[in-house]
Amino acid sequence: MFAFDPGTGREVWTMHHPNGCQVTPAFKDGVLYATCFDTLYAFDALMKGGDDGIKDTCENGDRYDILWTCKLAAKTNQSPLLFVDDALVLNTAEGLEVYPTKVKDVAKVGRLKVVKTGGSDGGGAAHNGEILVAATKTGHVAIDLKTDKELWRAESGSGTTPVIDGAYAFFGDGRGSLWCVELKTGATKWKSDGGYSDPPAAPAVAGGVVYMASNKPGAMNALDATSGAKLWFWNVPDKTKNVTSEDYASAVYSAPLVAGGRVYFTSYTGYLYCLTTDKAPKERLVFKEKISEQVCMTVPMAHEGAVFVRGAGATFKFAGK
C-alpha cells in the first residue's frame, strides 16, 4: 500500500506486504481500508498520529501507521471494497463480509455478518444502500441490504464487477457478453452477443452510453445503454510482442474511465489511449502515450482535472498543458 501527493508524486507513506496487495483501497473519514491476502487493514491514511500516536517505521524504510487489523473469514485479492452506510462490505470467497467502521478496533468487535452468496469472485456495486449486486463464481447476485435476502441471480458465470446506473445493473459474463438487467427484478433488458473482454474488464456507464473493452482484437466499444445497440467502436492500432498469441497483441483488459467527454483505457500494447466520446468525430483518437514496456491492464483514474495511470513500475500524471 502507498500514499502519494497527486500534485508532485511524492510518496507520503508506504507499506510493503509479503503477500502483496492487489485491491483498490477504500477511504472514509481519514481511514484507509485495504485487504492483503487474509487480513483487513485500517491505516491512519493521513499519518495524523491515529489513536495511539504511533507511526510504524520498518527496517526496510517503510513508514506507515496501522490503526488495527482483522482476519477475514476468507482470503481475497478480488475485493474492491465499498461502504454501505457506515459498514464496510468485502466481496470474498465466503460471500459478503460486513465490518463496522466507527469503532476503534474492529478486531475486538469482529465482523458484523457474512451474507452467503456462493463464493464471490470480483467486485460489487450498491444502489442507494438498498440493493447490492455482487459478482460470484457462478453468476451475479443481487442482495437486499435491509433483509440480506437474495433478490435474483443471473446465470452469467464468473463475470466482471458490475456497474449500477439508474434502475439497471450492467456487467460482463465469462463468455464475453454484456448484460443489462433490471436492478429490482433481475429481468434481462438486453444481452449483447459475445466478443467483449471477460474479467477484469468491467464496463463503465456514462450519459446513457455503456463503454466496454474487447480483447480479440483490442478495441473500445460504445453501446446504447437503453437498447444495447452498438454506437461505435475503435480498434487499437498498435500491437505488442509480449504475448504468445497474435490474437491478443492489441488486447484491452482495462476497464474504461469516462471523464470530460473522453474515454481513457490501457492496452496490452502498453499505451494509454484517450478517445473522444462524440458520436461522429473526424478523429476518434485524441492522444496515446506509452506507459509500459510490458502488457498493461491498469485502470486510469480522474482526479481534480488530471488523469493518473500506472504502467510497469511507474505512475503517470497527465494534466492540462
Binding site: M1, F2, C21, T24, Y33, L46, A259, G260, F287, H303
Partner: protein
C-alpha cells in the same frame, strides 16, 4: 401600512428560495450520495463524467512507484492524497 413592506419582504424571500431551488445544480438538490460515491474505490469510480477536465492533457510527471497492478486495481483519493496498492 407598516405591515406591507414586511409582507413584501416575506414574499421576496419565498420567491428567491424558489428560484434558488429551481436553479440549483442537480447534484446539490439531492443530498444523497450518487451511486459511485458510496464506494471507497474501485472500478465504480470510472464514471467521472461530471469531473471538469482540460481540453488537452500532457504528461505532468512520471514517478517510479511499485509494480503495475492488474485491471481492477486503481487509486482512491482522500484527504488530499491518492492511495494505491502493489501486488
Amino acid at each position: 401600512m407598516a405591515r406591507f413592506p414586511a409582507v413584501l419582504c416575506v414574499l421576496a424571500a419565498l420567491a428567491s428560495s424558489a428560484i434558488a431551488l429551481v436553479s440549483a445544480p442537480p447534484g446539490l438538490q439531492d443530498k444523497k450520495p450518487r451511486p459511485w460515491d458510496q464506494f471507497g474505490g474501485g472500478p465504480e469510480r470510472r464514471n467521472a463524467s461530471e469531473t471538469k477536465m482540460p481540453a488537452t492533457l500532457a504528461l505532468s510527471w512520471k514517478k517510479e512507484m511499485g509494480c503495475a497492478v492488474p485491471g481492477r486495481a486503481q487509486f482512491v483519493a482522500g484527504g488530499g492524497l491518492l492511495f494505491g496498492s502493489s501486488p
